[in-house]
Amino acid sequence: MNKQLLIDSSKCTGCGLCELACAISKTRQCQPQLARIKVWRDETRGIFVPMTCLQCENPPCANACLMNVISKENDKGLTVRRLEACIGCRACQVSCPFDASRYDYIEDVVVNCDHCEGNPECVKYCPSGALQYCSLAEAIDCLRNVEAKKRCIDSGL
């Protein structure tokens, strides 16, 4: 069963640990702007939304790429890049509706989340459980539990 990176933005506190963990593990730099995940913050209302590559089925970035670097990996459903051919033109970054492609100025390439080969660093560090890496069945179980709990509380059980 394929695992997916699930984001529950209602649990996110905007601490930014995921960004740091990602940047350090991927680039050895302590710079959140190099991270493949980014938390969009609306501080005044307390809304925090972690955004990363959603591995679209028909990715607009792949269509925009001038070098045909981006493709879908068939077995895992990931959007992968042949970075050795990337010329850093940023067309994919601009075409992503979720702003999930990140420009790595050190290597002059544009990168996206690759789930860290099945062991995402951001999930390990997320203190609030906003990021989870689980299969779809597990995710549905989780949702069911949450819904059940809510109904129990609503009905005073």
Binding site: W40, I47, L66, I87, R90, V94
Partner: protein
């Protein structure tokens, strides 16, 4: 068994064969192309000229990839004649029957009929061979005629190589088709501070020289140069199509319906050689850009295989890297929108500048300099035709907003 013949080997043609192979691993595909090279990225040619990308890096496929995909290639051959009633085509060497024919003949660079344009030292930048020819010529003092995106990129690339470059533009401002006056003047300023000479509003009258290019005369001055690079636009290759009775439109491209079908049964067309529908206005437009060609190739391939897929329309989308500053134009410009009542939202912040064009509460175009994040959300809002009032309403309501969090990156561009 169907036999699919594709004429062309550019972005549209290759996207079409990839789509066909993904969904049908058996159907015989025959590809004709004038150039005997595998697929390469035409958009990266200026980067190759500057030396930042190696020539070998340009190639997206190798010749052996075509064998692996079981495509019969006829590279270096031109199709001489197509018989539409018998569904056969002749390449001078052989006659091939087709069940479906995809025309992806593309476009060629346009050189205006200026006296002296055939002298050695005149070049265009459209194919790898053009790049090779420019490299052999070893330019020092270059005149770039035209300031479209290719013109600007080539000028920057040659300056990077150490050439002295002058850009001459016929219209009153640079990048006239993709940027409005204000952003264009900002880009103009960037170019001149980096040492490019930019001349606007002047027409090149003649190129002179005894054996090769020595100077170019405009209506106001004489510019000494050893190389002229024409970046004055492109023309569609539609001669073969019109010879067999395929209709072409007023703009000069092949007319297709939204299934990429031409007026002749079982002939499809995609890529630079067609007129596509503008996604925002619904009118036919020439949208000769890489992403549109790829999508059109996909649509043509699906319909060839018998699966009805409709093309949603083309949208202009250009990303320019100008001395490390990202300049983006998407959708339409004020000029293209014409007399319509345009509301303009402008903003700037240090080195960043953006301009959003709204018509009837909907985003019709956006131009940005120095910004690369958040534009994808704007593009999505533009494509979905989301009214800006609805966007603002969603953002103001916390509960709604959490469900449409991807709106947030676009927020700063749409604050009234």
């Amino acid at each position: 068994m169907k036999n699919i013949v594709i004429i062309g080997n550019g972005a549209a043609a290759n996207s079409a064969v990839e789509t066909i192979r993904k969904h049908d691993s058996q159907v015989p595909i025959i590809m004709f192309a004038r150039e005997d090279l595998p697929e390469y990225s035409a958009c990266a040619l200026p980067d190759c000229l500057s030396g930042r990308v190696y020539r070998s890096q340009l190639f997206i496929k190798q010749l052996k990839d075509y064998n692996r995909m079981k495509i019969h290639t006829r590279f270096g051959y031109e199709v001489q004649h197509i018989n539409t009633s018998e569904c056969t085509l002749n390449s001078g060497q052989e006659t091939i029957a087709y069940d479906r024919l995809i025309l992806a003949t593309g476009s060629r660079a346009y050189i205006p009929p200026v006296p002296g344009h055939e002298l050695p030292g005149n070049f265009v930048v459209k194919t790898v061979r053009d790049i090779d020819a420019i490299m052999v010529n070893q330019p020092h003092k270059v005149l770039v005629a035209g300031s479209g995106n290719i013109g600007i990129e080539v000028a920057e690339a040659l300056q990077f190589r150490g050439c002295q470059v002058t850009i001459v533009e016929l219209r009153e401002r640079i990048l006239p088709r993709i940027f409005d006056k204000e952003p264009a003047s900002r880009i103009h300023k960037i170019l001149t501070t980096k040492g490019l000479e930019v001349i606007t509003g002047e027409r090149i009258l003649r190129i002179s020289g005894d054996e090769r290019v020595e100077s170019a005369a405009t209506d106001r001055r004489l510019i000494p140069c050893d190389t002229v690079i024409w970046a004055a636009g492109v023309k569609q290759n539609v001669e073969m199509a019109s010879a067999i009775g395929i209709k072409t439109g007023e703009l000069g491209g092949i007319q297709v319906n939204s299934f990429m079908q031409t007026n002749i049964d079982s002939i499809y067309a995609c890529g630079d050689c067609i007129e596509s529908m503008n996604m925002l206005t619904g009118y036919p437009s020439l949208n000769m850009l890489w992403p549109s060609a790829k999508r059109q190739g996909q649509v043509a391939a699906f319909n060839c295989l018998g699966q009805k897929v409709e093309y949603e329309g083309a949208i202009s989308f250009v990303v320019e890297d100008i001395y490390g500053i990202t300049a983006v134009s998407m959708g339409m410009t004020s000029d293209a929108l014409g007399a319509e009542d345009i509301q303009i939202l402008e903003g700037e912040n240090h080195n960043q500048y953006w301009r959003v064009l709204l018509v009837d509460d909907r985003i019709m175009g956006m131009q940005a300099i120095g910004i690369s994040s958040g534009l994808g959300a704007m593009m999505a809002l533009m494509k979905t035709r989301t009214p800006v009032s609805q966007f603002r309403h969603t953002l103001a309501d916390s509960a709604l907003f959490k469900k449409a969090a991807w709106y947030l990156p676009a927020q700063r561009f749409l604050n009234a």
